[in-house]
Symmetry: C2
Subunit: 227 residues, 2 copies
């Protein structure tokens, strides 16, 4: 949701955007990748000369990491609100740093001057690599690493997810939120229960709009025992 709004935001500013779609592994993130394909194709139609993309396979690296987000089975994804201690298990160590490092190397290779990340304020409580001080240090590091050829853009770092949604709905080419997904579980229909689903639903609620994507039927909710 954040990355897609960022893409729409940059395209609206007249920037050409080269999208990097990261693959964590063969099974993991399958539906996320499908959503990324749909979204970039949507923007390819709306801004045909301004957008290109590439798929980057980091599964051989992620095989060395420990995080429940990288586990193969859905049951290891904790349910509950984002700031809960259990959600810390979804942190992929060094994730944004690895993404940005690879993107910086590609940017330098193809002569692009900026890498953009959709990190935002809502992620700060449990994800240290989304905080403003991290982003500032990252920008300095990448500028030094590239000899001043590449810098980091994070226009949403001071915004909440609701702020991002508001911005997205104000863009002239509507952000295709109906094509996005946020769910941590590797299933076609979003669960509505994991931390990121709850954060997303809350953001839509704050701005007074209905989330256009489908969620699993909320069985057992509302006091029904027959579900």
């Amino acid at each position: 949701m954040d990355s897609v709004t960022l893409l729409g935001h940059l395209l609206k500013q007249g920037q050409a955007v080269h999208c990097c779609i990261f693959h964590y592994g063969a099974t993991l993130g399958k539906y996320e990748t499908m959503a990324a394909e749909l979204v970039t194709n949507y923007y390819l139609i709306n801004y045909p000369d301004k957008i290109s993309k590439r798929h980057i396979d980091i599964s051989t690296i992620m095989a060395h990491f420990s995080s429940n987000l990288l586990a193969k089975y859905n049951q290891s994804i904790p349910e509950g609100y984002y700031t809960d201690a259990s959600m810390e298990k979804t942190v992929v160590p060094s994730r944004n740093l690895i993404f940005a490092s690879i993107m910086a190397g590609i940017a330098e290779s193809i002569g692009v001057k900026q890498v953009a990340l959709g990190v935002h304020a809502g992620d700060h409580p449990i994800y240290p690599d989304c905080r403003p001080e991290f982003v500032q240090a990252l920008n300095e590091t990448i500028q030094l690493s590239s000899g001043g050829k590449v810098e980091v853009l994070t226009p949403f770092v001071g915004m909440t997810k609701a702020d991002i949604l508001s911005l997205g709905y104000e863009l002239p080419v509507p952000v295709p939120y109906h094509l996005t997904r946020s769910c941590y579980k590797n299933q076609p229909i979003s669960c509505g229960k994991c931390g990121t689903c709850q954060e997303r639903l809350e953001a839509f609620s704050i701005i007074g709009r209905k989330d256009p994507i489908q969620y699993e039927e909320m069985k057992g909710r509302g006091g029904s025992r027959c579900g």
Copy 2:
């Protein structure tokens, strides 16, 4: 040579070291990987409880990069001294940043508090990601990214390659320089002509020792036209 001295240096200090051997691709770096295997096995014998290793395949990432060092054919590796303009073509953009980012993620995953890099002063003229200011920013970024769990060690950042060699020869367990290689070319015997071979030979010359590895016969040198 630098990484191996670093390994010997850290082991001598009593530290346990988990070695990360990066693979650029199937053909590229084949002999470098073989050398890394030999060296780590040498230290496994000398410090059996203090060393472990893993191989990390980054070839799917490097496929997106442009650098003559990543090209498949040796003829694209420039010959001549390191500071020559032609050697800039051997820069792999974002290389040390990517290495450090991945190592930081693995360190956090396995509960290790430091990542160590063998970057040194001699690399500064053409490699921006070896300079002290880069290393300082990188350390800050990784500390912030990991929430203070991981930091970066670069004990050689202020040293020349000759300084590193001197240190290596003073260690109680001799650094196995005969098992190392530095050559950029993907061939079993080092060329002796590329920038990194020349820098290595110069360092041995400065400390008054003979480099124990083999080099290609220097054909055509010394004025002979018959080679």
